[in-house]
Amino acid sequence: MEFKLETFLFFFLAVSSIISAIMMITRKSPISSALFLILNFFTVSGLYLLLKAQFIAVIQVLVYMGAIMVLFLFVIMLLNLQDKSKFKEKYSYKKITSLLLSILLFCILSFTLYFGFTGKFKAMSDAAGDLGKAETLGAELFTAFSFPFELASFLLLAAIVGAVVLAKKKFN
């Protein structure tokens, strides 16, 4: 098999995104969890880049790694997490059930992926490569999807109003 930079980058990013995700859920300190989540977002944005979705990759860095992680860190700092003993979980039927269910989900997913898709994957077509570009997105957003686009502004408005109402309640 010839060496391709793209294949190498894909496996590198995929492995590091899995490792960073595992590191994120196993850290004790919530701050280091948040930092590993940033690393995870970065690797995912690299994967978007390999799919030629430049615009989405840049958004992933700007919005998720920048803005949303700031929010996460603020929430962590807002909560008083000094008392570590509250976070120690004991083994319970809940935990065992969730473990069993996630093993089942893993089995189903890997079964479907292995038997359903083996040999069916093809190289990405040129049209698919254009999907994540700002030009394509803008062309679709302002013609066919203009109504959902306007609705998105209502969603943002609702987010502002919700945050203000909740925070005001806390002040008074």
Binding site: A57, A67, L156
Partner: protein, 116 residues
């Protein structure tokens, strides 16, 4: 803009940051002692834990920033295709901006942007 350039940009960006850290750990002289490892607080001995509870005002500012961040992100594809779609796209983005601006006016009227 092609994807390869952006991938190269990411890699070079990582290499600049990572390379700086790695080279400085290799080259810099090290002297370790317990006093040096202490948290620095204006030279006097530190007091209490560093984990403070922040004011909720920070969170509000952060969430309002996030919303306008997303708004600007929506404006990027508009700016790219603006010349092709002309007036229709212009009206659409104006409606979008006005609806989001209502949120800013609401936050302003509720005096959450005031720092006290």
């Amino acid at each position: 803009m092609n994807t390869e350039a952006l991938i190269l940009f990411f890699i070079v960006g990582l290499a600049m940051v990572g390379g700086g850290i790695i080279i400085s750990t290799i080259l810099a002289p090290k002297s370790k002692n317990p006093v040096k490892e202490e948290t620095y607080e204006c030279g006097i001995p530190t007091q209490g834990a560093s984990w403070l509870q922040y004011k909720i005002g920070y969170y509000l500012f952060a969430i309002i920033f996030l919303i306008f961040d997303v708004e600007i992100i929506f404006m990027v594809p508009w700016a790219v295709v603006m010349k092709d779609y002309g007036f229709t796209a212009f009206v659409e983005i104006i409606i979008f901006l006005m609806i989001v601006a209502l949120g800013l006016i609401y936050a302003y009227k509720k005096k959450v942007l005031r720092w006290d």
